[in-house]
């Protein structure tokens, strides 16, 4: 299962980011979310959703082989990661995230909490 995005339905409420931080870091901190919401205003007036599609580009470019795909979930090995951020720069979806509290980037683990809470079904399950 993968998480699909319907950007035209996204309202920019960021509840997905909030639940992501609560679920993964036990914090009220939407800045620690493995999903990005970026407004495109004043024109054309829409939100861009940045979320991992498991395309594996990050695995390909990681110089320390710290990133793997384990049964459809992209994982970063903290011991191997040297925080070079090549994965952040190279991700075609802008879906590798950082926060100053952490010494390694983080990526969506497809837990689906954001799908459950999204009020407009802008996020949904797809095969």
């Amino acid at each position: 299962m993968k998480i699909g995005r319907d950007e035209l339905r996204c309202t920019g409420c960021k509840t997905c980011q909030l639940i992501c931080s609560l679920d993964h870091f036990k914090e009220h901190n939407p800045k620690k979310a493995a999903i990005g919401i970026t407004g495109k205003f004043p024109a054309p007036g829409k939100y861009k959703i940045s979320l991992c599609t498991q395309c594996e580009k990050c695995i390909e470019v990681c110089p320390t082989d710290a990133i793997t795909n384990e049964a459809g979930i992209i994982k970063i090995d903290a011991d191997k990661c040297n925080y070079c951020l090549v994965c952040v720069d190279e991700c075609p979806f802008g879906a590798v995230f950082t926060h100053r509290d952490f010494e390694k980037p983080f990526i969506c683990d497809v837990c689906g909490e954001c799908v459950e809470i999204c009020p407009t079904k802008a996020l949904y399950w797809k095969e």
């Binding site: 920019g12 009220h28 901190n29 007036g45």
Partner: protein
């Protein structure tokens, strides 16, 4: 540190550029909860009586509440406050968007600005770091260009609150714009920011908001979201937002039309929610953590203009649409865009324009006053021109920029009778001659004629639209409950429209803070806050009292025309009787002043009576 709070108050003096960060005091948290409570307590204690609202000693405050930014539906709300340059009394404006949670994520509960910068500037708050930058070329620019530029320069993850040219020119209905269309609209606080020469406040926060019992809060939060998702009106609200109210308000004859001469606009279907959705809406746009997404982002394009705007919200459609008789949703949206970009409140703006048009129709002002402009109801050019003239203080716009009350005093000829305001603040979008509780709400609202603290039209429909009896009690109940949301720092709409119970908010508050207040305890604090805002008026406005609560004479001297409320009027005796009831139930004198005993009962014995 108490859970639910950012933990700090940030003070910035624009004169000497001194920045002070102090812990949010425990007694402030305990006695005033947050946002609205923090603002009035700060103003009352720290502002010297009689301070010029646009002078260097005035304060400009933005404050969040203990639930702002947390996992409860629609927790992206902030209060902006100060002494109002429009009314001279308590000034407050509420705004959504994404500035509210950002303030908490940066670790603050409140920002207090005072002093006056010599040169135009903008403030950048990046977590703990605060910088005051030269505004340079941004000064003079419209709100949208300012936000776009600052986001480009600082980063998309900064939230920007800015003023347009109207705020710079100290227009007394100037607002603060944020998130390309969210406004802290009412009471002219944009002019306070302008007087300090602050073009924008830019904010980024990356810290967690601490809470007392995370698991407990998430449990109640999930229940509150679920209540929204399963409410039968959820989809309707998502589709139309507040614009859904347009059809209803016309059906019941409460839609302000042609400067409140009637409660029914014959072209309302052209500016209704469904029409708006079909003709101009691009996407739904929500404030932080909101499931209901009442914000509608629109694109209005004709051969004369091509603009994007968030809205129009119901209030804007009522005041620029019905009240100025514009029967085309694109024109209403364009008027909305102009107001947002120049930085004026659409409610006051629409009302003042409608007032000016009526003055012109009656010959009180002429082409000589307007610089050749012929003012007509239903004429988009009249509206668009006046928005610009007010915002830029051009020609007659300079008089109108002072608000409809001051303009009426300037024009004379009894025009004060149809300047639709109370305490100097223009009435928002509900015609109330056949809604006595709603009228009493406008009369006694603590910022002037605003619907936010009490909205009672459905109560009037349920209990008798011409009956004044028993209305005061309901209004008081609403004036304690609705502003509680503005104190907790959340939106009231999930409660009103999705029936999320107040008890859930009280529970969320306890889980977030660990403070064991019951719903009733919170309501009692709300009453304390209400009385303190009243005392601010008593202190600041010479001769303040019963006469300050009387609505414009149109309400009790002129019958409504058109629609289902045709012929409606609310007699002066009924108005006086409602006030008697209201003061009595509140424990105030019959001149509308809280008594010494009442103040003592509310823990306000430190407040001096005149």
């Amino acid at each position: 540190m108490t859970g639910g709070y950012g933990g700090s108050i940030l003070r910035i003096n624009l004169t000497d550029k001194k920045v002070v960060k102090e812990p949010t005091p425990d007694d402030l948290i305990r006695d005033y909860i947050g946002a609205r409570g923090f603002i009035i307590r700060t103003l009352f204690k720290e502002l010297a009586p009689g301070t010029d609202p646009l002078g260097p000693d005035a304060k400009f405050i933005m404050a969040a509440g203990p639930l702002t930014g947390l996992f409860v539906p629609s927790s992206g709300k902030i209060q902006t406050g100060g002494k109002s340059p429009l009314t001279g009394g308590y000034g407050e404006a509420n705004s959504g968007g994404h500035f509210p949670e950002e303030l908490k994520l940066a670790g603050y509960d409140m920002i207090i600005l005072d002093g006056q910068s010599e040169k135009p500037c903008y403030i950048v708050i990046d977590d703990d770091e605060v910088k005051i930058e030269d505004a340079g070329e941004l000064w003079g620019k419209g709100s949208f260009a300012v936000e776009e530029t600052l986001k480009k320069n600082l980063g998309e993850d900064f939230q920007i609150a800015s003023i347009g040219p109207a705020g710079e020119k100290l227009v007394k209905i100037a607002c603060i714009t944020h998130d390309f269309g969210r406004q802290a609209g009412r009471t002219g606080l944009g002019a306070v920011l302008g007087s300090k020469k602050v073009k924008a406040i830019c904010l980024r926060g990356t810290k967690a908001i601490p809470v007392h019992d995370l698991e407990g809060l998430m449990k109640v939060g999930r229940r509150m979201y679920e209540q929204c998702f399963t409410n039968p009106a959820f989809e309707l609200w998502q589709t139309y937002g507040t614009s859904a109210v347009v059809n209803w308000a016309n059906r019941i004859g409460a839609f302000p039309t042609r400067n409140f001469r009637g409660g029914y606009f014959e072209q309302f279907t052209n500016i209704s929610g469904p029409r708006m959705r079909k003709d101009i809406v691009v996407i739904n746009k929500a404030c932080y953590s909101c499931a209901m997404c009442c914000g509608k982002y629109s694109h209005a394009k004709t051969d004369k203009y091509d603009v994007y705007v968030e809205g129009p919200e119901y209030e804007t459609t009522a005041m620029i649409g019905g009240d100025c008789a514009l029967g085309n949703i694109k024109d209403v949206a364009y008027g909305n865009h102009l107001c947002d970009d120049y930085g004026i409140d659409t409610i006051s703006g629409g009302s003042i324009i409608a007032f000016a048009i009526e003055c012109f129709e009656k010959g009180i002002i002429t082409e000589k006053d307007t610089g050749g402009l012929v003012l007509k109801f239903g004429d988009p050019e009249s509206v668009f021109s006046l928005i610009k003239m007010i915002a830029m203080r051009e020609g007659i716009g300079d008089v109108l920029a002072e608000g409809s009350k001051a303009a009426a005093e300037h024009f004379g000829a009894d025009s004060i009778k149809f300047a639709m305001q109370v305490k100097g603040l223009e009435q928002s979008g509900y015609e109330s001659r056949r809604a006595p509780a709603m009228l009493l709400s406008y009369m006694t609202s603590d910022i002037g004629a605003q619907h936010r603290p009490s909205w009672a039209v459905t109560h009037d429909i349920a209990t008798g639209r011409d009956s004044a009896e028993g209305k005061a009690g309901k209004v008081i109940e609403l004036q304690h409950t609705r502003p509680l949301f503005d104190t907790l720092g959340v939106c009231r709409l999930p409660w009103i429209e999705m029936q999320v119970p107040v008890a859930d908010y009280a529970e969320a508050y306890r889980k977030a803070t660990g403070i064991d207040y019951s719903e009733q305890d919170l309501i009692s604090i709300s009453e304390r806050i209400w009385n303190l805002t009243r005392m601010f008026w008593v202190r600041e406005v010479p001769g303040f009292g019963r006469a300050s609560d009387i609505p414009p004479a149109r309400v009790y001297e002129e019958k409504l025309t058109g629609g289902s409320t045709d012929g409606g009027i609310l007699e002066r005796e009924k108005i006086e009787a409602m006030l008697d009831d209201y003061y009595n139930l509140r424990g105030w004198t019959n001149d509308g002043i809280p008594t010494e005993q009442k103040l003592k009962e509310l823990g306000l014995d430190w407040v001096n009576l005149p």
